[in-house]
């Protein structure tokens, strides 16, 4: 008899089967993920969790019978005698006859997705827009990469292994006498008593010594250097600017909407970039960079000057985030109020200093939950951005009133678009 401890064996043998299952049910699971994420807090979006999908596509059919006359033996008779007639239980037999199998008779198939699986599925059909055209210019920097060997280079880059290999090959090819051959011959010479033989040996020994001297152990032609080539390397870091109007007209609800949007963007960016920094800039009639807590919950009051925030952002970009090294994303949330006098400056700042350096700029106009965008006239900021957009500025803008609209809007903004893909390739 053997006892085998299998506990340390690699686990998750079922992982591949599970992935196959998810792949097969992808469309269904994706739908379920979106549905289940609508009702959730953003923080929980990351948590994975249970989803249920309609069983239809994943059903494993079998020939099975149903109906007909049934005979059944049961234990625990209390009062029945032969010939009694029992009323049929109402509501389809109360579990009798239906065979739960492995839960297959349920309409939905419920299971738990891990955090990664959930986020993957959630963001699967999204992509960062307009990346391709900036790639050559800004998203890449130079990096060094090994590229074979060369015969010249700096002594620091000498490749000892390759050099010794080549030297060995050369020595073998030219039949350089080995040290022990010479040593053996010398020993034989010492021991030899026959003069004639000894003279022969000495000649031979001299020839060998001369040859060993002629063929050096390492020749300059053996030497090889590691060669490096510079290759463009994608920049793997991003900074995300969150701009928000915190003037008195912004309610808690509006801030909450903005927050949700920022968090989604953050999750999305962290999946694409190894390192993501966030800069929070809040503004009234003047702008300041704050930490997250103050950004969302700190009290502030005053008028509204959007240009101040844009100015602050462009200053921060100039001082800390060189556009060549950083992918810059910005999302601005506001209720749309802006003083009329500020419009010209805002427009200029945006088109001249912000948009050229940023990868993506989204404007999110948040409104009251009850507010309908149809009745209200467009806000001053919306009108301004609309105009800039029609002039060709790469701006994305959306209006949001309800929490449930955040996901669709986000989805809509980053939807993978066929035409873009084609243009990019």
């Amino acid at each position: 008899m053997f006892i085998v401890d299998r506990r340390l064996n690699p686990g998750s043998k079922s992982l591949e089967n599970r992935q196959r299952f998810l792949r097969r049910a992808k469309a269904l699971v994706q739908g379920a993920v979106k549905k289940s994420s609508e009702g959730r807090d953003i923080k929980d979006v990351l948590e994975g969790g249970e989803v249920s999908i309609p069983l239809d596509g994943m059903h494993e059919p079998r020939f099975r019978t149903e109906g007909g006359t049934r005979d059944r033996v049961l234990p625990g008779n209390k009062k029945f005698i032969e010939g009694d007639i029992i009323e049929r239980p109402k509501g389809g037999g109360g579990g009798r006859g239906s065979q739960p199998g492995e839960g297959d008779s349920e309409d939905d198939f419920r299971f738990v997705l891990s955090r990664d699986e959930f986020v993957n599925l959630f963001l699967d059909d999204l992509e960062l827009p307009d990346l391709a055209k900036r790639k050559l210019a800004e998203v890449e920097s130079e990096g060094l990469q090994r590229a074979g060997y060369s015969t010249s280079g700096s002594p620091a880059n000498i490749s000892v292994k390759r050099t010794v290999q080549l030297a060995l090959a050369r020595r073998v090819a030219l039949r350089r006498p080995k040290p022990q051959e010479i040593a053996e011959l010398e020993a034989e010479c010492e021991a030899c008593t026959d003069e004639k033989r000894r003279a022969e040996l000495l000649v031979e020994l001299d020839a060998l010594r001369a040859k060993a001297k002629r063929i050096p152990f390492i020749d300059p032609i053996d030497i090889r250097f590691r060669r490096f080539e510079s290759v463009p390397k994608p920049v793997a870091q991003a900074v995300m600017f969150c701009l928000m109007d915190v003037s008195g007209s912004m309610t808690e609800h509006m801030k909450d909407l903005a927050k949700r949007f920022y968090m989604l963007l953050y999750v999305f960016l962290t999946r694409r970039y190894r390192h993501v920094e966030i800069v929070f800039i809040r503004h009234t009639d003047r702008a300041e960079e704050v930490d997250e807590q103050t950004f969302f919950y700190g009290p502030a009051s005053g008028g509204t000057m959007v240009s101040s925030a844009l100015q602050a952002m462009s200053d921060i970009v100039r001082s800390r985030f060189r556009p060549a090294d950083w992918n810059i994303y910005a999302a601005q949330a506001s209720d749309g109020d802006n003083s009329i006098a500020d419009s010209a400056l805002t427009g200029r700042l945006l088109t001249e200093s912000i948009l050229p350096v940023s990868q993506f700029f989204a404007y999110l106009e948040v409104g009251e939950a009850s507010g309908s965008s149809f009745e209200m006239p467009d806000s001053s900021l919306w009108t301004l951005y609309q105009r800039l957009r029609s002039e060709g500025a790469p701006l994305s803008m959306r209006k949001v009133n309800n929490r449930s609209e955040i996901f669709p809007v986000f989805h809509d903004l980053f939807q993978r678009r066929r035409s873009q893909e084609k243009a990019a390739s």
Partner: protein, 514 residues
């Protein structure tokens, strides 16, 4: 016999030396006193996650890859995480050596129970029951599964994951109809199977010559139209093993697809006896662990405290809720099996007049283990119940028989209860509940229209008015048609040959192209 052994262990913790000692103590009793005959044991300790893995691949340690196992895994995992489902204490595999998986979090008492239950009870049953002897090849199964896994993987590499998945989906849908129910010319030898498949592939490779493809063939020989009797005989019809029929005769399957069908068929065949011997198998194992644990306690190798712990889990295992209980779902095979085994013990050692009348062969025979070993070797659930369910057990469980005829609008009839008139009827009906012949729908391949549109014709003989579930039937037939690549029809007929329903399904375009 001296009863002054040291306890095997104290408390709940165990280590590997103790497991070894536990096993040896159990073996001493099982082989020495109970006269059991087992395969060598291999005991493997696994974690909960590995147990879930094993669940999803039908308890086998290795299996080919398929999404349905992932689905099962996701399902079990959800239930387990939520606490809706506990995991089994062990899984035992009918192989030689007999592998028992024990959960790491079992206490020492539970490990003892589980070793007695699985490594000796189930093990003996696997090795000696006629169904397992006839239908399964314990020596070859693990190697065969390994071969199957490798073969499926290599097929995926060569022919694409999608094509393999489609074939396997179809084969799985027909799995319950890929079984030989009657012993054929020779038993199954899985090692041989594996070798055969390999040789065939090698042969194909060695004789492959692309030139043959270019050789013009003469006009095809005129095939005389066979009369239907002769044709059906040539095709081996009627055939209830649908997978076998497809493997041998489906016109457009690739060789690798046939091999996949064969693999699924063999695996279905391997599991076939387990479905027919649930009550007996669990009854045997429960009876054996009960005897061994009691004996260990008598010998002083199990402390009183540990014995109480054992009794508690044992009682949980053999608990049978009554029909009007919330927890009732069906007969608990552990409970029914154990009760019947104990009842046989009683009949053999202390029979009453009634028992002498009902069981003249075994009543008062005295040799309990002799009788039980005989029973374990030669019966399956259906025959076991119809032979050995005693009136006394029917009385003490207060069994009754319900007859539910949808035509009879007043309600469900109580057909028999635990009285002199009812014993035999209850016994017959209960045995029938365990008869695979009644559980699985009886579907056969009747004919193929070779001269015409090559339609495959199936027939379902409806028993007691139970027709096929329509959506499922259509889906299975769709899979079948995809493999057959021509139309497939299924008629449902009652005992008087009246047609109740007819299905016709055409293959999907994708399947034909594949």
């Amino acid at each position: 016999m001296s009863e002054t052994h040291e306890p095997l262990f104290e408390g709940a913790d165990w280590d590997f030396q103790q497991l070894q000692r536990i096993h040896d103590a159990c073996q001493e009793i099982a082989h020495g006193e109970l006269g059991l005959d087992t395969y060598p044991n291999q005991i493997e300790i696994i974690t909960a996650e590995q147990m879930l893995d094993a669940y999803s691949s039908s308890g086998m340690p290795l299996f080919y890859k398929h999404w349905s196992f992932g689905k099962r895994f996701a399902h079990h995992e959800t239930f387990y995480r939520k606490g809706l489902m506990g995991l089994a204490y062990e899984i035992v595999i009918n192989s030689s050596p007999c592998i028992s998986y024990l959960m790491e979090e079992n206490t020492a008492t539970m490990q003892t129970l589980v070793i007695a239950h699985a490594a000796f009870g189930h093990n003996h049953f696997f090795k000696n029951n006629y169904l397992f002897k006839q239908w399964t090849d314990a020596d070859g199964i693990l190697d065969y599964l390994d071969f199957a896994k490798g073969y499926v993987a290599s097929c995926e590499e060569r022919h694409g994951r999608l094509a393999v998945e489609m074939t396997l989906d179809a084969a799985h849908a027909l799995m319950s109809h890929g079984i030989d129910r009657y012993p054929g010319k020779k038993g199954l030898d899985l090692r041989q199977e594996e070798k055969r498949a390999k040789e065939r592939r090698e042969h194909e490779q060695s004789v492959f010559n692309d030139l043959w493809r270019t050789v013009p063939t003469g006009p095809s020989k005129s095939t005389e139209i066979l009369n239907s009797e002769r044709r059906r005989k040539l095709l081996g019809l009627p055939q209830e093993n649908i997978l076998y029929f497809l493997e041998k005769t489906a016109p457009r399957l690739q060789p690798w697809q046939r091999e996949l069908l064969r693999i699924v068929r063999h695996i279905a065949q391997y599991f076939y006896p387990q479905g027919q011997t649930k009550v007996m198998n669990e009854g045997t194992a429960t009876y054996v662990h009960y005897r061994i644990m009691n004996r260990l306690h008598q010998q002083g190798r199990l402390t009183d405290g540990n014995f109480l712990e054992f009794l508690q889990s044992h009682t949980n295992v053999v608990f049978q809720p009554e029909f009007d209980d919330q927890r009732f779902s069906d007969f608990n095979p552990y409970a029914l099996g154990f009760a019947m085994m104990q009842d046989i013990e009683r009949i053999v050692t202390a029979p009453e007049d009634e028992d002498r009348e009902w069981f003249p062969d075994i009543a008062g025979k005295g040799d309990v283990m002799g009788v039980l070993r005989e029973v374990w070797a030669n019966y399956r659930d259906e025959s076991f119940i119809s032979q050995f369910l005693s009136p006394r057990l029917i009385r003490s469980w207060r069994m009754f028989h319900l007859h539910d005829d949808p035509e009879f609008s007043e309600g469900i009839q109580v057909d028999a209860i635990h009285d002199a008139r009812g014993y035999r009827r209850i016994r017959r009906e209960l045995a029938r509940q365990y008869d695979v012949g009644f559980i699985d729908p009886n579907i056969e391949v009747m004919d193929v229209d070779l001269a015409g549109d090559r339609r495959l014709m199936l027939r379902h003989v409806v028993v007691k008015g139970a027709q096929l579930n329509e959506t499922d039937a259509r889906r299975v037939l769709q899979h079948l048609a995809d493999l057959w690549t021509y139309d497939v029809s299924l008629v449902e007929v009652d005992a008087k040959d009246n047609v109740l329903k007819e299905y016709v399904v055409s293959p999907r375009a994708v399947a034909i192209a594949a």
